[in-house]
Amino acid sequence: MSKTPFAWGFALGALLAAASPGVATPAAVPTLIGKEAPDFVLKSMEGKNLRLSEYRGQVVLVNFWARWAGDSRQEMAALDRINATYYRAGLVVLGVSVDEDLRRAHEFAEAMKVGYPILFDTTSNIGRDYLLQKMPMTILVDRSGVVRYANVGFKRGDDRAYLDKIRELLRE
């Protein structure tokens, strides 16, 4: 048996990955980019209901996280720093927990002490609408409500990529 099919597959995968910078999963996330962000209304930790479409006209960063996803803690800390700097410029950061255990998700969010609203998805509709496959996942929605950037997982340097994209969207 030759290794040719594997080599071709690898080359194709590498080509796809190179064609979509900043996008970690080639399968699910690109289908969201360029499309209108699915609307949602969720209850926040403070008890208020927040709807994504009510932030139309502002740049919105939505971070989907779960307590059991190791990178969520690091990413939330990084997003808190970004929020502290850019909320005056019109950036809105929303954290959305997709954790099934609501009580423990609350405890986790309280321990993180982030300055942006944390919302809780109790219906699992968000996972279906946003094609969530791996946690954490972050998307950037432009002023007209279109998803412009998505990142799955979190590693060192991703926050730098977020900043570049946020600045670009805030300038539009």
Partner: protein, 222 residues
Amino acid sequence: MNFKHRIVSIMLRGGILACACAVIAAAPVLAAAADNAPPPTAAAPGADAVATSAAPDGAVASPGAPLPDAPAADFKTLDQEVQGMKKDVIDLNKDLFVLQEELLFPANTQVAVYVSMDVGAFFALDSVTLKIDNKEVKNYLYTAREAEALLKGGVQEIYLGNLKVGKHELVAFFTGKGPVEREYKRGATITFDKGVGAKYLELKITDRVTKHQPEFKIKDWD
């Protein structure tokens, strides 16, 4: 006009609109091609002579001459066409929406439920859950802005669906903050008869001043 005619009419209008879009999109390309084309040789000497006699000091054209106005007029016409097309798109969209509503929710099976709120001093609305014939059909969370819009007199269409003719039961659960900021959950029920025509129901939240309590009613708009 029946459905078939309306669909054909909408398709025809859509086609005409698409053609118009293509022509307008192609216009700048054609104009650019025309600009790049070499000047006609026969007319060139005469035109040069006119330009030379009108502006002997080397100016290309004097102010108010008809030539510079021509592109402006073209743009105006183009702009009017674009505006006209935008209006056509809006009209077409409206017709499609009405058609979709009629197809998805025909009048003989249509049931629409609305929410309205009056005063609201004793109740801050948080969510409404609707059950029809013991099946949950809607759970709606209200943002502060939406609750405020209801208090200002807005009426929200919370549910639109289809039901067969006969008796049905609607149960609505309202949650929110009651008097003295206390968690408040109340239900209201109505049994209604669905006839051949569309059915409209209204969930009304009002204040009962004498009891210092909110009141939840379901009104059947026959």
